[in-house]
Symmetry: C2
Subunit: 429 residues, 2 copies
Amino acid sequence: MPLDPALADRLLAAVDAGFDRQMALTADLVRFASTRGREHACQDFVLSQMKARGWATERFAMEPAALARHPGGSPVTADHSDAPIVVGIHRPRAETGRTLILQSHVDVVPAGPRELWSRDPFAPHMEGDWFYGRGGADMKAGHAAMFAVFDALASLGLQPAATVTVQSVVEEESTGNGALQCHLRGYKADAVLIPEPEDEKIIRANTGVVWFRVEVAGLPVHVSHAGSGQNAIEATQGVIRALRELEARWNAKKGEFRHFEDVDHPINLNIGMIEGGDWASSVPAWCAIDCRIAIYPGERAETMMRAVEEAVLGAARADRFLANSPPRVTFTGFTTEGYTLEPGSEAEAVLARAHERATGAKLQDLVTPGYLDTRVYALYDKIPALCYGPISENIHGFDERFSIASMRRVTRAMALFVAEWCGTEPVQP
Amino acid sequence: MPLDPALADRLLAAVDAGFDRQMALTADLVRFASTRGREHACQDFVLSQMKARGWATERFAMEPAALARHPGGSPVTADHSDAPIVVGIHRPRAETGRTLILQSHVDVVPAGPRELWSRDPFAPHMEGDWFYGRGGADMKAGHAAMFAVFDALASLGLQPAATVTVQSVVEEESTGNGALQCHLRGYKADAVLIPEPEDEKIIRANTGVVWFRVEVAGLPVHVSHAGSGQNAIEATQGVIRALRELEARWNAKKGEFRHFEDVDHPINLNIGMIEGGDWASSVPAWCAIDCRIAIYPGERAETMMRAVEEAVLGAARADRFLANSPPRVTFTGFTTEGYTLEPGSEAEAVLARAHERATGAKLQDLVTPGYLDTRVYALYDKIPALCYGPISENIHGFDERFSIASMRRVTRAMALFVAEWCGTEPVQP
């Protein structure tokens, strides 16, 4: 049932009225340098925010064995976060609406060299329409918006008339195991909304991601006896070439995959990290690269994992150094599939109405070549999985930022969506 | 005056008699994992060995300002060792012979990954004719031999009849500043002998070495927006190609450099270390390589430093990423010149006689493409600088080892050399 226009207007005004407080909460979240494994303090803060709103809460750990058994689980390596997952559950007095999961992640990618930032990445600041800080856009702005929706309703004496499970997860940037652990914990809903920074669009289709490491090792010698062919750092270049060829082959197939036909370069390989050698004057005996590559929705992660192994083996056969010492491929994070949001769901229609009322523009969709936690709900719960959030720039880069005006529009849309999807009831009987 | 044959025979027998003790001292030295900056304990042990032999001793620090002023000084970076230099001075009762500097270094290059070694690199062990351990060949075997020569003479009631300065230095593997600091301290002699592992040959000519670091940095983005040309790790490959071309150009000139005309590949470039990127799913904004390259004797280090800078700039002009963000070149260690041992010196003649008597073979010479501390004495003291030591394998590599039989032959030759060069006198008047 469409939202009462008068309520809608009051709710939009309430979001606006609370917006400074929402930005302050966003800044509080950004101040936590919650990189992988260091999300503990941030999650404790999130838990306190949930308790302050009177929700039931749960705090729990990953279950590596259960994750390993699940086809959507990614490897739990030594680098895996051991920070808890935190969940707050709003239960209405009368369960009359449709249930919802709201989810955000608190893990952020490393800031990288400080000198490439204009200002301290973990000292959030606003300049004009931009809010700067590592993890602000991706995705603490969305995280704070989940609370802001409840606060706006509460300022009107209202709350959702259905159970809303607010999930604060970790490991979104490396494995997707946090979202999957929530699924394994058993939370269910009629739809999920994840406010990732997606330019005020809804994700129609999204790739899966595979992380892998290639380690090259051989027998080094003093540089005075060195031929360049024995250098593990340079031998690694042959591996990179073979992986770029693999990437090109997969991009050439994009016409076979619905929604990706017109995406410029859907399958991105990233050589993200490299390390090798011990001494300038010793021929390096080892070199390792950490990489990520995407996979089309509908393809199994296994398929790409085998393709990567074959590409590396092919490079090894073509190189004197590598042939003597075949590189080792290991899977160090994401081994996840992509998903498609099938058009026509009622949840999407409600979000589209909310978006149009909040922003004055039609909701457009977007196909993205990166991992999103929505895949868990699309693939394994088979519920409408809505990924929708603000305009941003430089996520994973330097001077990461989101548009403050956009975040306000998105929060308005989220509030209208929750009010219509879940319905509302007075807080006091 | 040639050595008395009867004394020579007694001295050779004395070296043999003390050889087990000499190997035990070598093992004691190898047990110190005296990598750059961690030579303190090893140098204290060396000092105790010097004191035990009744020598005058000095222990002193590097003088960065004086090193910086000297044309043979290399940059003192944050990685530079702060371990002391230790010197023992034997003074005869009557100064009748020719004075001598004996020098060895205690710094060793990193062992690298443990799994590439058959056994613990710092647990020295003997197997057949081989003595294994990091830094055994390069050059703690030679270090112990300096003491063994005195011990052999002492077992006959003799000592050198001239001042012998025994110098235990650091920074031989990275800057050559240890040897230069001894020179700056003012030690002088009529000749120097450094027992580096040189296959029982004498070094006729030796290259200089330049260390440098190239840092590539740019503006990264989330991998989902990435074109591969924005990847600092892959942009670094263009720098490596340009440096390999520089290396080829310098090797092509070898005909212009005496003693190097017939050396297979005298100018070796080594890409020794690489590091870049912060996250598998972030396009890397930075990558750095640590390199070393050789220079012919007679060329100034400055010449190669400028050539490296030009090669990197050339690579930058040819690449979209690098053109926007030119790499930074810094000099992080060696900036040293090579040297030539002019044939015909009396010191070389004495060593040749000693070698032939000790081993039964003629002394051959060798041209080497790596740094040697002898350059300080050849270039700045202009004294005969003899570099001569045992047969070895895998220095700077894994399972580094020296031939035990060879080390015995070399010690025999060193003892005969010292006895003839310095003359001998009874320890007791």
